[in-house]
Each structure stands twice: as C-alpha cells, then as structure tokens.
C-alpha cells in the first residue's frame, strides 16, 4: 500500500513499494496520459513532475514518490486553462502520432519553469525525449513560442 498525491488528490494505492510510479499512475490511479515507452528511463514518454522536477516515472519507485507532489499531463492545465506549453503545441501543430508528446510537454514545462527563456543549447541539454515520428523541428519552435508568451 502506498499513499500518492497526484494532481493535488491523494490516492491510497494497493501496490508493492517497488512498483514503478508509471504503472501505479496508469493502472492503479487510471491516468493514462503518462505513457510507457521503454521502462528504462531512456525515452521520456513517461515524464511527470515530482515536486516540480521532471522525472521519468518508469524509473521512480512508488516508495520514493510517496508524500511528494506528483503532477501528470492531466494535471498540467490549471483551473481549466491549458498550460502555455500545451497552447504552444496546439498553435504550432506539433504532435504527429502524439504518443511521446505528453512526456515531451511535461519535460518542456519543467524546463521553462527553471529557464523561462531557454536558448537552443538549453533545449538541447534539457530535452532528451525520443520522438520516432520526428517532431523535433516543431518542438523547438513551440518551446521558443511558449517562452515568448
């Protein structure tokens, strides 16, 4: 049993403490916007915020996430208004298949919190998510657009 706070709500989740946070979010809490891509913290499709920091949830154990503030893509929009990164993604028509984009958006939202006007170099260093459709050109444009809102 673990106690998880996700998007401001607290859940008692009946899982073993060594369950990856990703699977507790997807299967026990039922929020499927956080995606499974590799399970070894390589691809970033499962990125969530843990106490405001972008983390790959497949590599975070439920026991380590307990008591922390977890935000998933479903909790990124505040008071019904889309986050500026989500808006920029729509304005720039970024997603193709879209599967990696929720993780990408979470990673970018964390970057902009730390560096509100990131340079291309900042983006290169902070955004290491895999996208097989190849949306990187639009991702970069949309990050700059979101930073300039």
């Amino acid at each position: 049993m673990a106690n998880l706070t996700v998007n401001g709500k607290t859940f008692d989740v009946a899982v073993e403490p060594d369950t990856p946070l990703l699977w507790a979010i997807r299967e026990n809490i039922g929020l499927t916007g956080t995606k499974y891509g590799c399970g070894i913290a390589q691809c970033g499709a499962c990125t969530v915020h843990v106490d405001g920091v972008a983390m790959r949830s497949c590599g975070v154990l439920v026991s380590d996430a307990s008591g922390k503030q977890i935000t998933t893509i479903e909790g990124l929009a505040a008071d019904g208004a889309l986050h500026k990164v989500q808006k920029a993604w729509i304005d720039n028509d970024v997603p193709q298949c879209g599967y990696c984009q929720t993780g990408m958006i979470m990673a970018v939202a964390a970057l902009l919190k730390e560096k509100p006007k990131p340079t291309d170099k900042d983006i290169d260093e902070a955004i290491t998510n895999i996208c097989r459709c190849g949306t990187f050109q639009q991702v970069r444009e949309a990050i700059h657009a979101a930073a300039n809102v």
Binding site: E27, D93, V94, Q96, G98, C100, Q137
Partner: protein, 726 residues
C-alpha cells in the same frame, strides 16, 4: 475521434471474411433505396463518407489509419473540399472493418502503408464528398421546388441564387439521405480547390496535448485483465515447457497460458504484475537450428550472392552492361551493405481482445484494419458477422502495425479466458526482439567509363532479403520480388532517374530466418544509399562535380532532375560552403514522388558529425496539406538519420541482440539539423509523402562525409563504424 459509428441497419450475415475486391467503393446505395442509414447518435448518413448532424456538424468517415502522418486530416480535407462544408464544423470517425465487410467494402481499402493513404483513395473520397453535396443541394431544391442547377453550396449553406433563399446542410440532410445518389459526379478542377492545398491544422491535436487521446495501450474495459508475453527469442523456435507453479502465487497472477506453438503469456490483474511474473517464470525453449545463425553467417551468405555466377533475378536492364564493363577504358567498383532495423514505434505493440462463444472483438492500433479483422476471424474461429476490430489511434506504426501477429496473440489468449477482456501489451524488449525488421542486403556496384569519362555502363547487384517472399508471396513474379528494385526500376512508382547506355540491375534473393517487414521507406532506404553514394563515387573517380555528373545522365528524367536542381540551388551548391562545412547531395524516386536532399555537415576529430542543415525537395504531384508535408519531411530526417547513425539490429545465436533504446538508440533534439523543405508539385499524378524523403537522408550525409574527410563509408549504421553525432 475515438467513436465508432454503430449502424442501426443489421449487419448482413456473410459466411466468411469476404474481403472481396472489385466492388464499387464509397457510393454504396443503401439497400432498399430510401432507407436511411444512421450513425450511432441517430444522425443520417448522406453516404458512407458523410454524416451530418442537425446542428450542421459534419462527420467525415476515414477508412485509413492515423499514425501521425496526418492522413486523417488530409482525407477529411479532400471530402470537405467537394462537400463544400464548413471546415470549422468537421469531425471524423473510423468505420470498423466489420462494418466495411457487412457493407460490401463501402469504404474500400483500409490498408495504410506505402504512403498510399491519400494517393490511392483521393478520387473516391472526393467523389463521396461531391455526391453528398449534390444530394444536399437536390434536397433543398426539392423543398423549394426549384431546379437544383439554380442552387449553390458553400460553407454548409445552400443558396437559391435567383431568390436568395438559403438553408443549411443540417436542415435538409434528412431529405437528402432519402434521395438516390447521382451517377454523374464531376470533381473540381484542382485549380479551383480552396481547402485542398491549404496548410490547415490537424484535426486530432487537442487530445494529444492533454493526455486524453486513447491509444490501444490505454483501452479500458470492465473486468479487463492484462497479459505480458514472451515469444521464443530465436525466430522459428518453439515453446517446449514452462513451470507455472513457480509464479501462480505471485501477486495478481490469474493464469499462465501457451500462445500458439512458440510463446507463453502471464495474465494478471495489472500489466506490471503480469510482466513481473513472466520474468520469474521458468521457460524451456526448443530453439532449433536457427540458434546457430549469427550476423557474420548471414553476411557471408549475402556476400556469396554478389558473385555473378550465382543465380539472380533481373529487375532492370538495357544494352549489355557485362560486355560494356569488360571493354571499358576504366571501371570502378564498390560493395555496400545495410542492416536489420527495428521500427521501434513509441507505443509498444498491444491489442485488447474480448472473446465469448459467439463474439470476438479486438481494440487495437492497426495500419490495416481489414488484415487485423481477418486475423481475428482466423484466431477466433468465428465468422465475420461475429467479429469486429475497433481501431485506435496509433502511437506510431512505420509499417510494423501493418502486421497482425500481436492481434492473433491477443485473441489466442482471450480465447483461453472466455468472457474476460484481455489487454496484451508487449514489453519494449519483446517489441525490439520480435520485430519485422528492415530487410538486410548487400550490394555490389560497378561503373564503366569510356576514354572521355562518359559513364557507359552501370551494374547494380543486390544480394539479400525479400520482404514479399516472407509477407506477400502472391506478389512475387516467377519467384522474383519486383519491390526489391524499388527506386531502380525502369518505370513506375519508383523509377531510376538516370539513363545509362548499358544497365543491369539484379537481385540474388537470400532470405535468412530473421523476419523482414515493411519499414517506413522500405527498399528505397538501402537502394538510395547504394545508387546515390555510388553515383557520388563515380563522379569523384573521374574528377567531376557530383551534381554536374548526375545532370548529364538525367536529361530524360525531367522530374527527377527538377528536384535535384531545386535542392542544389537552395543549398547553394555552386557557391562555397561556410568554413569547415561540407555538402552532399542525393535524389531518388519512391511512392510515385520525386525527392532530393542536400546536407551540410561538419566533422570533428574525423568521426563526430554535426549535421547543420538539410534541404529537401518533394514533387508529390498534388499537395493536399503543405504544412503536414513539411512535418512529414522534417520528421523523415529524424527517422532516416536515426537509421543511419544508430539503426542496426545484430544477430547472435539466432536472436536479435538489441533489447531497448539503450542498445538501439534514436536521435534526440540536440542532434536534429534544421530541415528546409521545398514542396514543388508539378501536377498530373499523385505521389505519397510519408516515406520518400527518408531514403535521401543517409546518402546526402554520407556523401558530405566523404567531401569532408575523403573517407567513404559503405556500411550502416555509423555506430558500428565508430562514428557518432557531434
């Protein structure tokens, strides 16, 4: 988008998976004439493609699968163009394959591959839109008792021009749906298109940025259990035994089942529990003889196929290349190779199946709804009227989801637990090791020159795997796989762009046990490297500029030449590159489109490549959505450059060695060049855009690498040549 139309008309009982051909497409007349076919919400269908709700919402049916390539939006544009509806009120839905069969293939082909989504259905979907428009106008005219010829339609509003009276589609749709469809339907002249050709935004973005979009992996059904699967790691091997007693007590485990003759699955309450138990399950495999195969043994076998005394199929020839090479003033020769590659779509393969004694339904992402449907019939043993497939948005496909192995497995598991929905999800490791890989090939090329350095002969001898041999044997012609010559053929959708007086293109077919598949770009990925890098080699061997050298051979191929010239001009081929920057160029044809690309790179320490800039030109004949073409083109360089730098699956003990993205990497944003896309439609034909430009990524960069270092790389991936991104 994820709503399936449920039709109130009873499905017609058919005896088998009558996936027939040759039936009229898209204009099926509802049986019994005026009987109105209704969508799930009761709104009437004007025809198979168009449903209009009373509030003027237009629901456009899309038969092809959306996997990121934008085909859903493009097809909707084509229907809407002819329908003259308000684009702001357009939404889309997928008919199910079961409905397609029950309605005698009203929506035609569901298969989504080969960059065909738009080009092979554009005509009948436009007719679907035009037919619906004519019926809506006729219904308004009937109500007003005026000739239809006096009425026009725009933005879902019908106007009687002489009187100025107006009505909307939503108001006349009930009457329109009762009319007989017109038989004489004229499509607009492309010059009159208003919506087609416009870079409108995709229709499926909003849910993709909020996490609401449901992919196959996200399907939830009441009482559903989850399955994790392991197939024999050696292709062709069998499952001997497993000791389920060792895992039945583990948390959440419900059942351990044999799947076919080569796989075992654990079914549990959650997938995490299923996967954990599967890893703990003792399994004995019968690996068979294939366990002796390695990358080295495959390479040796393919190398033997380069020997001209070995049998080979001839794919293209003119003149007498062998004689011309024998009598040449000078000749030049090179051997290239291309590896196995995994599709590695971001969403691992999955399917959810619910089997009962009299029904089998599957929810999954598939590139071929009808093939998935046929797989459900076969795996369940139930007839077509008792099966269906509910297509989900795909988290990438790239050709892998055109196959149905994962669908069959899900049904095979569900069949052992009747009444319980089972979601089968492959781990990334399973996905990486049980792909349908980009085929492995080698190629020996020989060029011959006369004393004036004119190219007199070209021999291209391919040796290696045929995809069709494995997946579509019916497409072989007397044993030969015509698709193996993609981009090297004399004519057709993938014709060679050079005229050489003596030409011989051959394929020594050798099919190792590793299963091949259609991998975004398919055979042009390697054929373009072979031909375009070798053209570069030939040009340099006689001291000629690679673009000038090509131009002399392309005078009879004006469309190939036009895209080459376009990229040469935009990259500034005739002007010096910036200090330390080197250029390479390539052109090719595939999927009926003409493409060319030029790269600007720097090389650090001889083995670290920074790709600064790519210029890519595409002539797809007609353009439906230029913004989406730009995205397909820039994305294609991520796929193509990932393949060049990282894409290699090696074989050891009969199995694939790479297991995840740590050993099979994919490029990141820091490695992404700036891609400048030139879209230059010349009209008169319809070409695809999802795949063609992938194939020019590698040769453009490899040719630039030669320009920078004087070193010729003839083997992919660069990972294995100790070359990386800078």
């Amino acid at each position: 988008m994820n709503h399936m139309p449920t039709l109130n008309r009873r499905a017609f009982v058919i005896g088998s998976a009558a996936l027939g051909t040759g039936l009229a497409i898209g204009l099926d007349i509802p049986f019994g004439g005026p009987t109105v076919v209704r969508a799930a919400d009761g709104s009437p269908e004007v025809n198979a493609w168009v449903v209009i709700r009373p509030d003027d919402t237009v629901v456009i049916r899309i038969a092809r699968s959306e996997m990121g390539q934008g085909t859903l939006t493009g097809l909707a544009q084509l229907v809407a163009e002819e329908l003259e509806c308000n684009w702001m009120n357009v939404t889309t839905e997928y008919p199910t394959p079961g409905q397609n069969v029950a309605r005698k293939r009203a929506w035609g082909d569901f298969s989504t591959g080969g960059s065909r989504g738009i080009r092979t259905s554009q005509e009948y979907v436009r007719k679907g839109g035009a037919t619906a428009r004519m019926m809506l106008i006729q219904a308004a005219a009937n109500e007003w008792k005026v000739p239809a010829s006096e009425c026009t339609a725009a933005n879902s509003v019908i106007t009687h021009t002489p009187s100025g009276r107006t009505t909307t589609y939503g108001k006349v749709v009930e009457a329109a749906a009762r009319l007989e469809p017109p038989t004489d339907v004229k499509l607009k002249d492309p010059k009159d298109w208003k919506l087609v050709g416009k870079g409108v935004k995709r229709l499926d973005t909003a849910d993709k940025v909020t996490g609401k979009m449901t992919y196959g992996i996200d399907v939830k059904l009441p009482g559903m259990l989850n399955a994790a699967i392991k197939d024999c790691p050696v292709f062709g091997g069998k499952l001997k035994s497993f000791d389920e007693a060792k895992v039945m007590d583990l948390k959440g485990v419900k059942k351990v089942v044999r799947v076919g003759d080569s796989a075992v699955a654990v079914v549990a309450d959650t997938w995490w529990h299923a996967k954990t138990a599967l890893e703990a399950l003792p399994i004995v495999w019968d690996e068979g003889d294939n366990a002796k195969v390695s990358s080295a043994s495959i390479a040796k076998w393919l190398e033997e196929g380069l020997d001209p005394t070995q049998p080979a199929f001839i794919g293209n020839q003119n003149g007498d290349a062998k004689a011309a090479v024998a009598s040449a003033a000078k000749k030049f020769e090179a051997v290239y190779n291309y590896p196995y590659q995994n599709h590695a779509a971001m969403e691992p393969l999955n399917a959810t199946a619910l089997y009962t004694a009299d029904k089998c339904e599957v929810w999954c992402g598939t590139q071929n709804g009808e093939a998935a449907f046929a797989a459900v019939l076969e795996a369940s043993g139930l007839p077509a009227n008792k099966c269906d497939v509910h297509k989900q948005i795909l988290g990438g496909g790239f050709g892998r989801r055109g196959q149905t192995d994962y669908v069959r497995q899900a049904v095979a598991i569900a069949k052992q637990m009747p009444g319980t929905p089972i979601k089968l999800l492959w781990s990334r490791e399973e996905d990486m090791q049980h792909g349908k890989y980009h085929p492995i090939t080698q190629c020996k090329l020989t060029g011959a020159f006369d004393a004036d350095n004119n190219l007199t002969a070209l021999q291209v001898r391919l040796s290696g795997q045929s995809i069709q041999f494995s997946l579509r044997p019916e497409a072989l012609v007397n044993g030969m796989d015509p698709a193996a010559f993609q981009g090297l053929s004399a004519s057709g959708d993938a014709a060679i762009g050079y005229s050489v007086p003596n030409l011989l293109v051959e394929h020594s077919m050798r099919n190792p046990h590793v299963p091949p598949g259609y991998w975004r770009g398919v055979n042009i990925n390697h054929n373009a490297i072979y031909l375009e890098c070798f053209m570069d080699e030939l040009a340099h061997s006689v001291g000629q500029d690679p673009v000038e050298f090509r131009r002399k051979l392309m005078t009879k191929h004006p469309k190939h030449l036009a895209v080459l010239n376009a990229v040469a001009e935009k990259i500034g081929w005739d002007k010096p590159a910036p200090q330390g920057v080197y250029r390479g160029i390539a052109q090719h044809m595939g999927y009926a489109s003409y493409v060319a690309g030029a790269a600007e790179i720097s090389v650090i320490d001889g083995n670290k490549i920074k790709v600064h800039r790519i210029v890519a030109a595409t002539d797809p004949g007609y353009v439906v959505n230029p913004a989406q073409i730009e995205r397909q083109v820039s994305g294609s360089f991520v796929y193509g450059l990932s393949a060049l730098f990282y894409g290699g699956c090696t074989v050891k003990d009969g199995r694939i060695e790479q297991t995840n993205f740590d050993t099979y990497n994919s490029m990141r944003i820091s490695e992404m060049p700036k891609v400048e896309s030139i879209i230059m439609p010349s009209g008169g034909f319809w070409g695809g855009v999802g795949e063609p430009t992938i194939c020019i990524a590698a040769p453009a960069v490899l040719n630039a690498y030669f320009a920078a270092t004087g070193k010729r790389i003839r083997s992919v991936p660069l990972r294995d040549q100790d070359i990386s991104f800078a």
